[in-house]
Structures are given as structure tokens and as C-alpha cells.
């Protein structure tokens, strides 16, 4: 646990020391994305507000995963971290936890802003047919899956900069599986949350396995 906290703190210091432009981009992203549920409630292009939140998690988590997992492999400093005296599982779990925490914080800010827009616009229903809690849980489960998938793909992929794109594909696959199954049998919306969590656990297991192997220091493409 001590190792996990140390890695989370390290990643936080690294992120907090970033150039101001990075924070500006996140603020703009939160601001723009917060209007989507409003569009949905007005009956515009957003067919299902919850799914949009899921894809928001792809953007945020994929981006964090790309910088947290990939940058150290690109510049070779992962080897130093692995020989620093921290346990490997601590390093991996700390990195995943940091990505999840940051994604959740950004998600909460975005959800909060969305609620403000809905409140000021006078629309009572934020997500037609689905609860706010469900949308947030979907976002969380998507974040978990994207973080663990990012950790695993950063080791397995020779071009890990493509992680955000593969995350979109994975979320698309899980959603497609859910819709295909729900066409055959009657499924609750919560099944999608369950599928995302299941996929997240599988990716977590594979990431732990590969993090203890040689591939963690294999050369990768920029």
C-alpha cells in the first residue's frame, strides 16, 4: 500500500508540474463535454446520454494512460522505477489508481457542470430513461476498463501511443456485445456496467502478468 501511495504521489507531482497549457486543455474539454447531456435532454443528436459519458471516459482515461504508462517506457525511465525498491505490483497499481483518480475527478467536474446547465436550462430530466447514478457508474466502469486496458496495452503494443484509439475500439466492442446480447435476451442496463468491470478485471490480470515479464522494458515505437 505504501508503494502505491508513493507512486500516486509521484505521478501527481509530475502532472501538477505540467505546463499551464495542459490544464487549459482539460478545462476546455470539461466545459465542452458538459453540454452533451443538455443536448440529449433537448432531443438533439445525442441518442443516449450515458453512452456519451462512456466515451468521455475513453478520451480522459486514454489520454492519462498514454502519458502515465507510455512516456516512461518511451524515455527508458521505467527501468529505473522498477529497480528503485518499490514492488512491481505497487508501481502498476499506483499508476492505474492515479489514472482512475484523475479520470474520476475530471468526470465529477464535468458531471457537476452538466447539472448546472440542466438546472439553468429548466430541464428536469438529465438523461431520459436512465438515472444520473447509472450514468456516473457507467463512466466509472468505463474508466476502470480503460485504465487497466491502457496499462496492459502499454506493455503489449509496439506503438502504445495508439492506446486512446484502441480504447475507443474496446469500448465499442463491449457496447456492441451488450447490444447484441440484449437483442437475444432481455438484459438490464446494469449488464453493460458489469461487462465493463469484467473486461477491466481481465485487463488488470493480464497487465499484472506482463508487468512482471520482460516486455515491460522492450523497445517501443514513438
Amino acid at each position: 500500500m505504501k508503494d502505491i501511495v508513493a507512486v500516486v504521489k509521484k505521478e501527481w507531482h509530475g502532472f501538477a508540474g505540467s505546463e499551464k497549457g495542459i490544464f487549459a486543455i482539460y478545462i476546455i474539454l470539461i466545459f465542452v463535454w458538459s453540454f452533451l447531456p443538455l443536448n440529449n435532454s433537448l432531443g438533439s443528436f445525442a441518442l443516449s446520454g450515458s453512452i456519451w459519458w462512456l466515451f468521455f471516459s475513453v478520451i480522459v482515461t486514454g489520454n492519462f494512460a498514454s502519458s502515465i504508462f507510455v512516456s516512461e517506457r518511451l524515455n527508458g525511465s521505467m527501468e529505473i522505477l522498477l529497480t528503485s525498491g518499490l514492488s512491481r505490483i505497487g508501481v502498476l497499481a499506483g499508476k492505474i489508481l492515479f489514472v482512475v483518480i484523475m479520470s474520476v475527478v475530471i468526470g465529477i467536474l464535468c458531471f457537476g457542470l452538466s447539472l448546472c446547465w440542466v438546472f439553468f436550462s429548466g430541464h428536469s430530466g438529465l438523461f431520459p430513461g436512465q438515472s444520473f447514478a447509472f450514468a456516473f457508474l457507467l463512466y466509472l466502469s468505463g474508466t476502470f476498463m480503460n485504465a487497466t486496458a491502457g496499462a496492459w496495452m502499454s506493455i503489449r503494443m509496439s506503438s502504445p501511443r495508439l492506446i486512446p484509439f484502441v480504447n475507443i475500439l474496446l469500448v465499442g466492442i463491449v457496447c456492441a456485445v451488450y447490444y447484441a446480447l440484449s437483442g437475444l435476451i432481455s438484459l438490464s442496463s446494469w449488464t453493460l456496467v458489469g461487462l465493463l468491470c469484467l473486461a477491466g478485471c481481465i485487463f488488470c490480470f493480464t497487465a499484472i502478468k506482463d508487468f512482471n515479464g520482460e516486455k515491460i522494458i522492450a523497445p517501443i515505437d514513438v
Partner: protein, 310 residues
């Protein structure tokens, strides 16, 4: 056996069909400064990665400080100091925060870290950057980053240090400081493994030298034996009488190269003063007399030639 820090026994490592080592063995005794040299691509970094448990050999046994490095035990790494080709620091934070992170990862307290910096890094840029940080590591020069990495490697008095190209990008003062750190660590019983292309550094610091060649490590004899010819040079007038004067004292051919007479000589303690006295007696001006600095280089060449002939 108990006295050895590194025991590598018949290790074979290959990537696909590309064999890097075959039945390679090495033992490093406690308190030794061991230097590993080899051509580019000979597998020095791969060997270091095996010692650090970053790569697993296909065959053979590796024991470092009594541990199997591949078990990735944190307690093993806490006894180690590591310097690799990348500094490994987070560029967005100060040198202080970086060093504190790695210190705490090894279980070293803040006061111990501060005491180490105060004692070992006084009068260096790192001392002021640690106690009053002014800039992030990403704004440091390459040499400054390397000094920070050396500082991290020696932090906590590690029992075994693995240093890959430690003198790259260092200025003269920093190299002197690095030498003093290595010597102090050795005096306190630490074992040090240095891989470098800077043969002068290897020669100055190392008690034993290994040459990575033909998929194995061969020990290079670095003992100074006065009975064997040693290369020397004398910087004086370019005159044939000089050549014959020197030649009369040594058996090897004498050649004039890079503004100096160069030759191999047995028992230089007595032969060199005799040559100098003779040259001065004949009225020549002597600017410099010294042993060649490339003894190791010559030994490696000799080793390569012998291995090639075999």
C-alpha cells in the same frame, strides 16, 4: 562463495534466434570494483539487465547479493544502487522531489538523505538545487541530470552498485567527484560494477576488468607486472640519435608518433631514469615522460588478436 556478490553461472540469453551470451559465467567478490568493456552491441546492457532482474536468461543461474534478481524482491533493490542510460527522473518536478521519491522508495529517511547530500555533494550545483530548488529537472543540462542520477545511485550506501556509462556528459570536476564517490564506496565495502566505453575511467577505478566478446566474458589481466613490457612515451626532439638512445635501453621498436617517442619497456623504474639521463647527457630537451594511458586499450586489442588467432 559466501564472499561473492555476483555469481553468474553458465548463463545463456537469446532474443529469438539471436544468441547474446552462451554459457557465460562471472563471479565478483565483495568489495571489488569490476569494469565491463566490450564493443557496441556486444551485450553489456543486456548483461546489466539480467543482473537487475529486468531480463530473464534462458539458461543458467544468476545470484546477486544472494538473491535471484528475477524474483523482483523489493528488499533486493533496496540494497542496490543503479545508474542506467536514462536518468529516470520526472522532468516536471525538482531534483529534490525526485531524489526524495527514490530515497523513500529505498526506505531512507529525509534526515538521512539531507545528511548524505550535505556530506557528499557539498559545493556542487546539486547541493543548492536540493536545499533551495530553483528549476525542474527537465531544464537541467545532460551533465547535471547525470550528476543527479549518480547522487541517487549512491544514496543509502548500497551494497552493490551497477553503473552503466557513469561518466557520460560529466565535466572534469564531476568526474573527479564521481571517482571519489566510487573510492569511498569501495572503502566502505561496497561492490561496484561499471560498464563503460571510457577505458581511462575503467582503468583508473576498476580492480578487475571483463571483456564481453564472442558471447562470453573473458577476464582481462589488469595486474601491473613490472616483468612485462609496459608502454611509455617521451616527448623530446625528433632526432634519430634520440631513437637510438632509447632503443639501446629497450627491446621493442621505438616509433615517433603524435610528437613523442613511443616504446615498450621492461622494469621502467630503473630503465626510464637511465634513458632520461642518457638523453639529457646528449643535450636533448625533454618536455614530458609518462606511461601511456591506453594500457587497457592495448590489452583488449591484444586479447582480441589472441582470440582471433585462436
Amino acid at each position: 562463495m559466501q564472499n561473492s556478490i555476483v555469481d553468474v553461472d553458465c548463463v545463456t540469453k537469446q532474443f529469438g534466434k539471436n544468441v547474446i551470451f552462451r554459457d557465460c559465467s562471472l563471479t565478483i567478490a565483495k568489495g571489488t570494483v569490476y569494469g565491463l568493456v566490450g564493443l557496441n552491441g556486444s551485450g553489456k546492457t543486456t548483461f546489466i539487465r539480467i543482473l537487475l532482474g529486468l531480463l530473464k536468461p534462458q539458461k543458467g543461474i544468476v545470484r546477486v547479493l544472494g538473491h535471484d534478481p528475477w524474483s523482483h524482491e523489493p528488499s533486493f533493490f533496496k540494497k542496490m544502487g543503479v545508474l542506467l542510460d536514462h536518468d529516470g527522473f520526472s522532468g516536471n518536478v525538482s531534483a529534490r522531489d525526485n531524489i526524495l521519491f527514490f530515497g523513500k522508495a529505498k526506505g531512507i529517511t529525509l534526515s538521512q538523505i539531507e545528511s548524505y547530500i550535505e556530506k557528499q555533494w557539498n559545493n556542487t550545483f546539486l547541493h543548492s538545487e536540493f536545499f533551495s530548488p530553483k528549476k525542474k529537472v527537465k531544464y537541467f543540462s545532460r551533465g547535471q541530470k547525470m550528476q543527479c542520477a549518480i547522487c541517487r545511485a549512491f544514496l543509502g550506501e548500497p551494497q552493490f552498485l551497477v553503473l552503466d556509462e557513469p561518466t557520460v556528459a560529466l565535466d572534469v570536476d564531476a568526474i573527479d567527484h564521481f571517482y571519489s564517490l566510487v573510492k569511498q564506496a569501495r572503502d566502505t565495502g561496497a561492490t561496484i560494477f561499471i560498464s563503460s566505453h571510457h577505458l581511462s575511467a575503467i582503468e583508473d577505478l576498476c580492480d578487475c576488468v571483463g571483456l564481453l566478446r564472442d558471447k562470453t566474458i573473458a577476464n582481462v589481466d589488469c595486474t601491473h607486472n613490472d616483468a612485462l613490457p609496459q608502454p611509455w612515451f617521451i616527448r623530446c626532439d625528433h632526432d634519430d640519435l634520440c631513437r637510438t638512445t632509447i632503443q639501446s635501453q629497450c627491446l621493442s621498436p621505438v616509433e615517433f608518433r603524435d610528437n613523442a617517442w613511443r616504446f615498450d619497456i621492461v622494469n621502467p623504474q630503473t630503465a626510464i631514469p637511465a634513458i632520461v639521463a642518457s638523453l639529457v647527457g646528449k643535450g636533448f630537451n625533454i618536455m614530458e615522460v609518462a606511461p601511456e594511458q591506453y594500457v587497457l586499450k592495448e590489452k583488449i586489442r591484444l586479447h582480441n588478436a589472441t582470440a582471433g588467432n585462436a
